[in-house]
Symmetry: C2
Subunit: 230 residues, 2 copies
């Protein structure tokens, strides 16, 4: 299972997302009230429905966030790369998680006590502001996802997924997928079989090249066109 890790917030401060507006004393406060943990691929960081009394900041690896459903089909609502705070509305609403977070690669994350975070939001207005900006960004991304999954056909949805993956999640082209085909399907709101057929079509049309887990985007303009038309 998860392994404990020891890192000071000050060290990873440089590129640390919303936390870089904090003073040293505030970061130390977080240091004293966080757990730094390593997860193996496939391990659950938190689960939909479970109590949410800490905030999670991803410090390395890749995390998928998905909504579970009775019929066992999941919908991935977002991927998180370091260094990034995972927005989960739960702590501010009903203290339960509304999505499940799972490590896709070996991942390290800091679990920060809810009380400390909330206190920082109340005492440091700059931090509160960054926090709101962060939430807003995630909301926009959520709007895009809803829009894609409910209003577009399979081709448009897969195009959206590919454009979301590069750049952003993967930053070389070609890149080596750490996501399974099922993950890509869950990210595109369709079955694995449908996803594979669409990828094959894209490959036949020379829009992408895919061999196993090596994926290359060849014609980005074409992908954007497909995403736009739906």
């Amino acid at each position: 299972m998860a392994v404990l890790l020891d890192t000071k917030c000050l060290v990873c401060k440089k590129s640390s997302d919303i936390f870089n507006v904090l003073k040293e004393s505030e970061l130390e406060k977080i240091d004293c009230n966080k757990a730094s943990i390593i997860y193996k691929p496939g391990e659950i960081i938190f689960k939909q429905g479970a109590p949410a009394n800490y905030f999670v900041c991803v410090t390395s690896g890749l995390v998928k966030l998905y909504i579970e459903h009775v019929n066992s089909r999941n919908l991935i609502v977002g991927l998180t790369r370091p260094i990034n705070y995972i927005f989960e509305p739960g702590p501010f609403v009903d203290h339960h998680h509304h999505v499940t977070a799972v490590a896709c690669e070996e991942t390290s994350a800091c679990l920060i006590d809810e009380k400390v975070m909330k206190q920082l939001i109340k005492t440091n207005t700059e931090f509160a502001n960054e926090f709101i900006k962060k939430i807003s960004l995630q909301s926009v991304s959520l709007f895009n996802r809803i829009s894609s999954c409910t209003q577009k056909h399979v081709y448009g949805r897969v195009a959206d997924t590919l454009l979301y993956l590069y750049p952003g999640i993967y930053n070389t082209n070609p890149f080596l997928l750490s996501l399974t085909r099922q993950d890509l399907a869950d990210l595109s709101g369709m079955t694995k079989e449908s996803l594979i057929r669409v990828l094959k079509k894209f490959k036949d049309d020379n829009i992408i090249n895919i061999e196993g887990n090596k994926l290359e985007i060849i014609n980005r303009n074409n992908l954007e066109e497909i995403a736009r038309k739906g």
Copy 2:
């Protein structure tokens, strides 16, 4: 078109959502930097893609928020009843609206200058906190909507819609719909025809009763069961 209205924030303070943590002086600040407007049914309050440099608070009526799409199918992401601040991430991200807001009934709303709101967030931590809570609530609602629209069949989706309408949007049973069938379809992520067929099925099964715009929920348990099963 829109008609100007004159109301003091202090007057509608009592039930005024996130604003009730503000001091009198702060409310006066808003008073001086807001426009209070009346919209007729069907009128646009703000439009997706347009610049977003004010915040909107609904003070009477009913507002639908929807994502537009090229093929002219809209997806309603939420309805807002007074008194409620409409969360739009735009002002914190790219200063553009990401949804369109339209009045479904005669509606009055206050348009509050972005700068003033942001300043209040920066100076009043209590307000910032309420603001974050509000955003979080809307995010949860967004998760529910995504979950419903992407993972459930038509029956489950319409059940979700009906349960969302009562209670919450309408608070008597039976209630008089101010939404059209098309609105209900946009809220359920399907075509008008499909929606009508599902409503008919529910009526035949004695789950609801619907005559024109009068809708009564007869068997709520059954609806919840259908919503759960998808």
